[in-house]
């Protein structure tokens, strides 16, 4: 598969703040690629550079073989963008929002009408076609933003937190639509805070922290690599700490009153803890992307 987005040593500074600190990544055509990271990690900034709405400070970034600072209009023509913030046009109805947006892409009127109707049905908004957008629920607005992003049949779809603030039903609906789009060959690049969403959807992902990429790859492999097979979770007590220090192969992390032990041999760890230490509550579970995320980006609040 050829790469459709390639970044090398990409840097973005805002005055003294380094928002994106020399990152390298590539996105293959047809895959669903995720950007994960705490708030302020540089995900949205990176997305905005791909979208050609925020110029890079240095490094290189190519989209579909075109340099972002040379061919911005051409790149934007093949992108579909669904921003985090609702920026639907409040002066128009649901249907008219799509038509007006289609016009920015020079899509002829008849074709725009055909696509708008098709997309409203695809996103289950057909009944709301003549409703002004202030009458739409949050979930409907998100779907309309997604429909709008698809009006130009984009090769690359860029989604910034596509399911933020949605109820589980709306979230699953969006996931289904994204899978359907992927199967049609659309490349999807998304940011998310939801680990479950990333594990479910992303073929590959990167985790960013403080403007840098801290890990990248296939979600299941990242989890295996960074957090091992299992996690043993227990309360921090002096005796427990002594025990834990006895484990030579295990990495661990202390958070508040709890300690998380990442391990390939959960039975051994558990039995040692039970037989040799005085334990409070203990829990053994499979490692998840969330464990990796927290290990790599720290537990403390970022803002």
């Amino acid at each position: 598969m050829p790469s459709i987005v390639v970044a090398k040593g990409l840097v973005k500074r805002f005055g003294n703040l380094v928002a994106v600190d020399g990152i390298d990544f590539y996105v293959e055509e047809g895959e669903l690629f995720g950007f994960l990271g705490p708030n302020g990690a540089g995900k949205t900034t990176t997305m905005k550079m791909i979208q050609c709405v925020s110029p890079k400070t240095s490094g290189s970034l190519e989209v579909a073989g075109m340099k972002i600072d040379e061919k911005d209009r051409e790149i934007k023509r093949i992108l579909g963008v669904a921003p985090q913030e609702n920026n639907l046009d409040p002066d128009f109805t649901t249907y008219k929002n799509l038509l007006v947006y289609a016009r920015y892409f020079d899509i002829p009127k008849a074709e725009a009408e055909r696509r708008a109707k098709e997309l409203l049905k695809f996103m289950q908004l057909w009944e709301k076609r003549d409703v002004n957008i202030d009458k739409l629920s949050t979930g409907m607005k998100r779907r309309l933003i997604l429909a709008r992003a698809l009006i130009n049949n984009p090769r690359i779809l860029i989604l910034d937190e596509p399911t933020i603030g949605l109820d589980p039903q709306s979230r699953h609906l969006i996931w289904d639509k994204l899978r359907a789009l992927k199967s049609e060959g659309v490349t999807i690049i998304m940011t998310t805070h939801y680990m479950e969403e990333a594990e479910q959807l992303c073929d590959r992902l990167v985790i960013m922290n403080l403007g840098k990429i801290v890990t990248s790859g296939v979600p299941a492999e990242i989890v295996k690599e960074q957090a091992g097979k299992s996690v043993v979770e227990t309360n921090i007590l002096p005796k427990v700490m002594k025990c834990v220090k006895g484990f030579k192969k295990e990495k661990y992390e202390k958070v508040g009153e709890k300690i998380y032990i990442y391990t390939e041999r959960p039975r051994h760890v558990l039995s040692t803890l039970i037989s040799e230490c005085e334990l409070g509550k203990v829990q053994v579970r499979e490692s998840t992307l969330e464990d990796v995320f927290i290990r790599l980006t720290g537990r403390e609040l970022k803002e």
Binding site: V53, P55, D72, R73, D89, D91, F92, Y101, Y104, D106
Partner: protein
């Protein structure tokens, strides 16, 4: 030195037109509301000044001409409408679209760049001036204050003047920290221009220093040209004023687009 770069001509594409169309569509949707203020406003001025003040001042002498006060006033009312329409469209209205509605953010995710968006906004502001000037022309013609054939020349002028004041409004939108602060240019610039640009009385009766100040106002030149047309006395002063308006329009347009880009593209 660094300020010079804001006078570099921006790269604008034909796609700017799409923004004009967007605004036209909104306007067409709300045309009943959109047409009432530009129709009522000149009537209020006409009654207050033309018929109220005009009761005491029947004729007025200026630049060697003697005309009725209402005929003197009519071109000023057209000019005021040109100024207000363009300025308010591209200050308050554009600020709302930019800041609250995030309309510009949505549009620049398409093949349009911010330069196209702002250009489309300015062309729309100029169009609003032209529409509103057209309405007033009908009103003052109905009262027999202007010759309907002569005054048609004011239509293209209203687009140019509209662009000038739209760019001025956009300039303040680009630098204002919030929407409330847009009140400052209104009180400190637009209102003085409305009162002291030869609108309600000839500038020649002002003290010299004030006259000089008034000649900096673009509004003075717009009123001068409009009045020259409606009173059929176009001469060199109107030509110089037209050059002044053209130069100011070009500079303000470029400056407002570049400053808006500075504000929005980071």
């Amino acid at each position: 030195m660094s300020f010079i770069k804001y006078f570099r001509p921006p790269k604008v594409s034909r796609l700017a037109w799409k923004v004009w169309l967007r605004n036209k569509d909104v306007f067409a949707k709300t045309y009943r509301v959109s047409f009432i203020p530009p129709f009522l406003e000149p009537l209020l001025y006409l009654f207050a000044f033309g018929f109220g003040l005009g009761f005491f001042i029947t004729t007025i002498n200026f630049d060697g001409l003697t005309v009725s006060y209402r005929e003197f006033l009519a071109p000023a009312l057209i000019s005021i409408s040109i100024m207000n329409s363009g300025f308010f469209e591209c200050s308050y209205n554009s600020f709302v679209r930019m800041h609250y509605q995030k309309t510009y953010d949505a549009i620049i995710s398409t093949p349009l760049n911010i330069e196209d968006v702002i250009t489309g906004e300015l062309l729309w502001g100029a169009t609003r001036s032209m529409i509103n000037a057209g309405i007033i022309i009908l009103v003052v013609s109905a009262f027999g204050l202007v010759d309907l054939t002569l005054v048609l020349l004011v239509i293209p002028l209203s687009f140019l003047g509209g662009l000038l004041f739209s760019a001025m409004g956009m300039l303040f939108s680009a630098i204002t920290p919030n929407i409330e602060s847009l009140n400052y240019p209104v009180f400190l610039l637009v209102t003085p221009m409305l009162l002291f640009s030869g609108t309600f009385f000839p500038l020649s009766i002002l003290p010299g220093a004030f006259q000089a100040l008034a000649f900096i106002f673009p509004m003075t030149h717009l009123v001068g040209i409009t009045r020259g047309i409606t009173l059929n006395s176009v001469g060199m002063p109107q030509f110089y004023s037209l050059v002044w308006v053209l130069v100011a329009t070009i500079l303000l347009t470029i400056l407002s687009i570049n400053l808006m880009k500075r504000r929005l593209i980071q």
